[in-house]
């Protein structure tokens, strides 16, 4: 294929599939979290802290954050490809989205392993 554009998709199904798999993982995490909330003890600071100091919860939440970043990247790129036509502006916004998602991941690690 010729005329590839630098801010286009990568003309494959990897991201399409990744968006669906990461979405499914996040849906499962959401259901588990809802069950934990509604079957657990009333929320006090101790309950809240213990929940997020549990190893499974930390790893699961980190996995959620990674899935979110990948999923949101594909989704935001689709939105920018649909509505933002000037290449320079689109590239700038795509870069901004990537930086924002990297900040989210760093912040998540900091919150979970303080």
């Amino acid at each position: 294929m010729v005329n590839r554009i630098v801010t286009g998709a990568h003309y494959g199904m990897r991201d399409w599939l990744a968006q669906r798999i990461t979405g499914a993982i996040m849906a499962v995490y959401s259901l588990i979290l809802a069950v934990v909330f509604f079957t657990g003890a009333p929320l006090t600071y101790g309950v809240w802290r213990d929940l997020f100091s549990n190893g499974w919860m930390r790893v699961g939440t980190l996995l959620f954050a990674l899935c979110l970043a990948w999923h949101a990247w594909v989704g935001m790129r689709d939105i920018l490809m649909d509505y933002i036509k000037p290449t320079a502006l689109r590239l700038a916004l795509e870069t901004g989205v990537i930086l924002l998602l990297l900040v989210y991941m760093g912040w998540t690690v900091q919150v979970l392993w303080r």
Partner: protein
């Protein structure tokens, strides 16, 4: 073709007025655009806001109590969280529907419209439920 249809000016250009008032999307189309809008809102500002809340509430007992006693009860905060809850529930429900459509489940016209209605209704019902829980704790 009726004479009314024949008189429509062609070509039809898209502009904001046309998008908002003239082109009426079918329900699956509304679910789709709301999936996109809710997704963008979840990326920003809601993900940042939720991380802030998680950070402040996990940091210390004082922070947890400050969030619970002083921050969450503010009407603007509750309203904002209600919008977040709707965006999350809609995005999740519509996402599950799209996954099923990708698996060729419910792709006929009538089931597709029914599942679109179900997404709108279930996500609003979930929003009402979690909103009620939010109002009862803060």
């Amino acid at each position: 073709m009726s004479s009314a249809a024949a008189k429509k000016p062609r070509p039809k250009y898209l502009n904001l007025t046309a998008l908002l008032f003239e082109i009426r999307l079918p329900l699956p189309g509304k679910v789709s655009i709301l999936h996109r809008v809710s997704g963008a809102l979840l990326v920003f500002p809601f993900a940042a806001w939720l991380l802030y809340l998680l950070d402040a509430s996990l940091g210390s007992e004082a922070g947890f109590e400050r969030i619970r006693m002083h921050y969450l009860p503010m009407p603007a905060v509750k309203l904002g969280l209600l919008v977040f809850i709707w965006a999350y529930c809609h995005h999740l429900c519509a996402g599950v529907r799209f996954l099923l459509l990708d698996l060729n489940k419910g792709i006929e016209l009538v089931p597709a419209r029914r599942s679109a209605v179900a997404v709108l209704v279930v996500s609003l019902a979930l929003t009402a439920f979690f909103g009620w829980r939010l109002w009862s704790i803060a």
